[in-house]
Symmetry: C2
Subunit: 329 residues, 2 copies
C-alpha cells in the first residue's frame, strides 16, 4: 500500500485539520468529538442540517458544509460509522431553534448511531434516510444503500432550510428527492482501506463489478470489461427500469467518479449517458460531473438521475457556498 | 488497461463533447479544429487569453475557460501538443481588439506550436511561458517544465484582462506570477496513456519518484517510500531553496492531486505543508486543494507555493466563473 500518511491512527485528524485550514473561511473543525461545522451562524429558527458517515468518500460530507447546504458533518473513521456522541455534539453546536434534520445514508451502522443520537436529543428532530442505489431490489433485506444521490438531497433540502422551510417541510422534501433519485455504479478496480493495507476485493484484468457499493461491496454481477457505451447503457437501463421517468420530465444527470478515474473519462461517460436519456425523451437540464462521493482510490464511476420539477430545480440552483460546491454567492 | 472508452481514436472528442454539454452555460466546443471557448463574448478591447496543451491534465486547461480566466483552450491528444491551426482558429474566434496572450507550459512541442501560431496571427500578441517546476535546475537544457502553477498564472492574468489591463501589462503580469511560483511533485504510481495501454514507467512497491513530471517524466531521484511528513519536507525544502521566500511574505499554497490520490490524503498534505511554511514565517493566506493539473490516473501530488502581494491577491480573489474554479459570480 502506497499512501500519503504518517500513521493510520492520525490520518483522519491530520486530514480534517488540513481541510478546515484550507477552508477556514467556511468551516471549523471540532476535534473532540469530531465534527465539521459552518463558521457562520445560521439565522435563528433555521432547521439545522446534519449529515455524516464513514470517511473516505470526500468531499462527501465535510465538503458540503456551508451556506445553503449542511450545518455540520460528522466524519467517522475510514468506511466506519461516526459514533452518536459526534452527532449529539454537532447538533448541540448548530441547533438554533428550528430543530435538527439528520440526513443519513442507509447503512446499518450509520442508521443505528444516528438513531441513538436522535433519541438523546432534546429538541425537535427528523431523519431522512437516503437509499438511492438501485443495484439491489427494493425488497433487499437491509434496504438499499445511500450513495451519490445523497448530495442532491443535501443540496436541495439545504436550500429550502436556508429559505426558512420548517422541519416537517425539510423532512418531506428530503424524502421526495430521495424517491426521485436513482444511482448505479461500476468498479474497474478495488479501493484500499489504509488500516487494511490491501485491496478490499480482487478483480480480474478483464472484469468489472456492476452495481458496486461505495465501500467496494459486491454489486449485482461481475461482467467482462465492455465499451463505455455498453457500460453506460447497462447502468442507465437499470436506473430507467427502476425510476421510470416520463418523457419530457426534467432531470439532473450526475456522473460521480469513485476517486481514481480521470475527469476526461467522466466527461465521456456524461456524453454517453446524456445521449441515452435524451433518446428516452428526458430533458437533462442540470449536470454535475466529478469526484463527489468517492471511494478512496477506487477506479470507477456511478450514474445518478434525479427527476427535478421546477420547485426542485429552483432549490438546486439556489446559492451554495461550501468547499466542494459553490455558486451564486 | 481498464478505462471508460469506446476507442482510443474518439476518446478525446467524446470527452470534449461531454464537457461542453455538462457546462453549456459557460463554454462551447469547436470540433474542427478543436478548441473550447467561452459562450459569452468578452468586452471589446479585452485581451484574449488562450492556453492549451496535451489532454489528460483535466480540468487544466478546458476547465479554466470562462469569465475571469481563459477565453479559449486548445486541447491536443493525450499528452500531445495541440497543432498551430487550433491556436490560430481559437485566436480568430476570441480576439476582440485587445490582442492575444498565449499562456504556454514550457514543453518543446507546445512552445514550438504556439510560436508557429503566433507567427501566423495578424493581431498584436504575446506569450507567457510557464516554467514553475523546480525539480530540475534553472540551467536545464530544455528549461524547466510548466506544471501546476500554470493555473495561478491563468487566474491572475485572467482577472487583470477582465478588468481592462492591456496586452503588455498582461504579459508582464504573467511573467511576474511565473517567477513568483514554484512547484514540485511526487509520484506513487505511473499513469497509463490510453493509446499505449500500459503504465508509462515501472516503479517498485516501496519506491516513489521525487520531482516527477505531469506526463510521468523522470524526476530528480527515486527514493524509498517515506512518511507523509518526510515527503512534504523534501518537496517543500526544494521549493524553499529555489523560491527563497522572505519571512512575512504572503502566499497561496496549492496542493494538486495527479488524479488517483484521495482528497483525504491531499488535505493531509495541505496540513503538513502549511505547517512547514508557517514554521518558515510565511503567511499562507490562500489555499487550493484538489485535482487541478492531473496526470490521468497517476497517484501522487505536487506542492506549489506562489508568493502573492496585495495586488496579486486581489486578482486571485476576483470573480471567476469556469467549470473548475468558481467564486464571486
Amino acid at each position: 500500500m502506497k499512501k500519503f500518511i504518517n500513521s493510520v491512527d492520525n490520518l483522519l485528524d491530520e486530514s480534517l485539520h488540513g481541510f478546515a485550514k484550507a477552508h477556514s473561511d467556511i468551516v471549523q473543525f471540532n476535534a473532540q468529538p469530531r465534527f465539521i461545522k459552518r463558521i457562520k451562524s445560521s439565522t435563528s429558527g433555521k432547521v439545522a442540517l446534519i449529515s455524516g458517515g464513514g470517511s473516505g468518500h470526500e468531499p462527501l460530507h465535510t465538503g458540503f458544509v456551508g451556506t445553503g447546504m449542511l450545518d455540520a458533518a460528522c466524519p467517522g473513521q475510514v468506511f466506519t460509522s461516526p459514533t452518536p456522541d459526534q452527532m449529539l455534539a454537532a447538533a448541540q453546536a448548530v441547533e438554533n431553534g428550528g430543530g435538527v434534520l439528520f440526513i443519513v445514508k442507509n447503512y446499518a451502522g450509520d442508521a443505528m448511531n444516528f438513531e441513538i443520537a436522535a433519541e438523546m436529543l432534546d429538541c425537535p428532530h427528523e431523519t431522512v434516510l437516503v437509499c438511492d442505489d438501485v443495484s439491489f431490489p427494493k425488497s433487499h433485506s437491509t434496504g438499499r444503500r445511500g450513495v451519490a444521490g445523497t448530495l442532491i438531497v443535501e443540496k436541495i433540502v439545504g436550500a429550502a432550510a436556508e429559505a426558512g422551510a420548517d422541519l416537517a417541510t425539510c423532512k418531506s422534501l428530503g424524502d421526495r428527492v430521495n424517491l426521485a433519485t436513482a444511482s448505479m455504479g461500476v468498479a474497474l478496480s478495488s479501493c484500499t482501506v489504509p488500516a487494511l493495507g490491501k485491496p478490499t476485493f480482487e478483480i480480474g484484468e478483464n472484469e468489472i463489478e456492476m452495481g458496486v457499493g461505495i465501500h467496494g461491496e459486491r454489486g449485482r454481477e461481475r461482467i467482462a470489461m465492455s465499451s463505455a457505451t455498453e457500460i453506460v447503457d447497462y447502468l442507465s437501463g437499470i436506473i430507467d427500469d427502476d425510476l421510470r421517468p416520463q418523457k419530457g420530465q426534467s432531470a439532473l444527470l450526475h456522473i460521480n467518479g469513485f476517486g481514481a478515474t480521470p475527469l476526461m473519462e467522466l466527461h465521456l461517460i456524461y456524453e454517453l449517458a446524456s445521449r441515452y436519456w435524451e433518446k428516452q425523451g428526458i430533458n437533462i437540464c442540470r449536470s454535475l460531473v466529478g469526484n463527489y462521493t468517492s471511494s478512496l482510490d477506487m477506479a470507477g464511476c456511478s450514474i445518478t438521475l434525479s427527476l427535478l420539477n421546477e420547485e426542485l430545480l429552483r432549490l438546486w440552483d439556489a446559492p451554495v457556498h461550501t468547499a466542494a460546491l459553490r455558486w451564486g454567492c
